[in-house]
């Protein structure tokens, strides 16, 4: 029949090229033997830094040498100072993150699952998101003093917006045709939310999660400059008073390691949860 013959006619387009082997199928991760090359330049920079410090080119009151920093790190870890500071800071981030995540996700669900909810929630959220949340610090101090509350609130606020925006967009971006298929299967609204809406929005939510964790750590650093008496920020501020640049750098490195760690957790979650993206 006609459809058949016409479709049989052009099978020539996708013929494999015998002369072109697996050149295109280059592995995505680098082979092991070249991976170490990526460490060359950072190590060289640290070595140069050490050289500059040792020869006196780099004033040690401006920036401590890598050796000094390593020694300070050992000391801070040894006497428990760093551990205590990290614990306090991580608690702040965790509390602020949970509060902000719950708030952001709840608002995204309200806005994403009903038109009324969208009309009520989305306009104020879209207006507020343009506000740099660090600008609210003075108000937070007036409202909440300088204890834990304004720090946690600042982190929570920073976390809520990326999660809200991405999750809301994720829910709205779900293929209407798939939603319709779910309705044709006579699934209830709750079943559709559970099996279609939430998993469909998950990729966007995870993007929001990564953004919000980054902002959480940033907010922590800023928040800890508000009169702290414990935590990494306190440690850094005290070191500033005594011009201990090695301690300051130890604090900064700790911040970035913590950020890297949470990012790795989210990337792991993404790999687990989004393995269907083949």
């Amino acid at each position: 029949m006609g459809r058949m013959t016409s479709a049989l006619a052009p099978p020539t387009t996708a013929r494999p090229q015998p002369g072109a082997p697996a050149k295109s199928s280059r592995p995505r991760s680098r082979p092991r033997f070249t991976a170490w090359r990526r460490w060359l330049s950072p190590v060289a920079i640290v070595a140069l830094w050490q050289l500059a410090s040792s020869t006196g080119v780099l004033d040690e009151r401006k920036l401590a040498s890598p050796a000094q920093i390593a020694a300070a790190a050992g000391e801070l870890i040894g006497d428990g100072t760093l551990g205590d500071a990290v614990l306090v800071s991580v608690q702040r981030v965790a509390l602020g993150f949970v509060l902000g995540a719950v708030l952001g996700l709840l608002l995204a669900l309200v806005a994403g699952l009903s038109r009324i909810g969208e009309d009520a929630v989305d306009p104020p959220m879209q207006m507020l998101r343009t506000l740099p949340h660090f600008g609210l610090i003075p108000l937070f101090i007036i409202w909440m003093g300088i204890d834990e509350a304004p720090k946690v609130a600042l982190i929570a606020l920073g976390v809520a917006f990326p999660l809200y925006l991405n999750t809301f967009a994720g829910i709205r971006g779900i293929d209407r045709k798939v939603m319709e298929a779910a309705r044709s299967m006579h699934l209830t609204r709750l079943q559709r939310i559970r099996h279609v809406v939430l998993p469909g929005a998950l990729p966007s939510t995870l993007v929001g999660l990564r953004q919000s964790l980054g902002i959480a750590w940033l907010s922590l650093i800023v928040a800890e400059t508000i009169g702290s008496d414990a935590g990494l920020g306190y440690m850094i501020n005290r070191a500033r008073d005594f011009l201990l640049t090695d301690v300051i750098v130890v604090g900064l490195v700790t911040y970035s390691l913590l950020g890297l760690a949470t990012d790795a957790v989210v990337r792991y979650l993404e790999r687990r949860a989004l393995s269907w993206r083949a």
Partner: protein, 290 residues
């Protein structure tokens, strides 16, 4: 409760006994008794555009019905009404039992494995274990046993459409609604899917309503071909010929084909220069030969 036989123009006055080669349990006495779908005076309009005008349609248990028409004739809208995807008043559209839809696109959930996609249609069945078991059975039935645990994005178009078919079948619908489910497939896969649908229909007590714009597909698969035009039911043909004999060159099929094309306002031409003369029992027959 009589069906609208007046509406129906039999293509062969001296027709063979209906469905002789299709021993369909529901085709006997039940056929006159009940209906799985009854549409009476159904009207749909979007703004000033009348998409459906006073549609009457009956589908009896075990019927294989085709809704044929040009794009925009309202056939898909009618299917949506039958699937209750759009709000449709119950006195106009009555579907007895459960309906299921296979769409033009497979519309699988990419984040669920193939077997979970099928099991999803059984969500109201009691046990997850039973759901998975039934889903596996349906997937075996459509010949995808080896793809149970694959992700939908790993499937070919034809495989995905089979999963979609299995998903529609798993709740044992009394009315299977097919919304041009073959039109996006390549020609060979389409022939396989035609055979599969006929097999599945024969094995089950369900009515099938196929929406298509393909005259040959409708003539090859359906026992009743309703032609829609401008939101109305234009005319209905009953095809009593066994499916194995429904070659486009068969005089009866060719005659109905010409009538349908005339009804649709297409200049009647020979069916298709590629297929008419030389193939007495070519691929066209294979869909009905199973």
């Amino acid at each position: 409760m009589a069906r609208l036989t007046t509406n129906r123009t039999s293509s062969t006055p001296t027709s063979t006994p209906a469905h002789a080669p299709d021993p369909h349990p529901a085709n006997g006495a039940d056929r006159a008794a009940g209906h799985v779908a009854r549409v009476r005076g159904h009207h749909r309009s979007f703004g000033d555009v009348h998409v459906l005008r006073s549609i009457d349609l009956d589908v009896a248990p075990g019927d294989f019905v085709a809704l044929l028409g040009r794009s925009g004739c309202g056939k898909s809208t009618l299917l949506r009404s039958l699937a209750h995807l759009d709000p449709s008043p119950t006195d106009e559209v009555d579907v007895v039992g459960r309906s299921a839809v296979a769409f033009q696109e497979p519309r699988l959930l990419p984040w669920k494995s193939v077997v979970d996609n099928v099991a999803l249609a059984l969500l109201n069945a009691p046990e997850r274990k039973d759901r998975v078991r039934l889903a596996r059975e349906r997937l075996e039935e459509v010949g995808l046993a080896e793809k149970m645990d694959a992700w939908p994005l790993q499937l070919s178009g034809g495989q995905a459409q089979r999963v979609s078919l299995a998903r529609a079948l798993v709740p044992d619908p009394s009315l299977l609604l097919l919304d041009e489910p073959f039109s996006a497939l390549d020609a060979l896969t389409r022939i396989e899917m035609h055979q599969l649908v006929i097999e599945l229909w024969r094995r089950r007590q369900m009515a099938v309503l196929l929406v298509t714009h393909d005259v040959d597909e409708a003539l090859g698969l359906a026992d009743l071909v309703h032609v829609m035009d401008g939101g109305r039911m234009a005319r209905t043909w009953q095809i009593d010929l066994p499916r194995s004999e429904r070659s486009p060159s068969h005089p009866e099929i060719a005659g109905v084909r010409e009538e349908i094309l005339q009804t649709l306002g297409v200049e009647p031409t020979p069916p298709n220069p590629n297929r008419v003369p030389s193939t007495p029992s070519g691929a066209a027959d294979s869909r009905g030969a199973a």
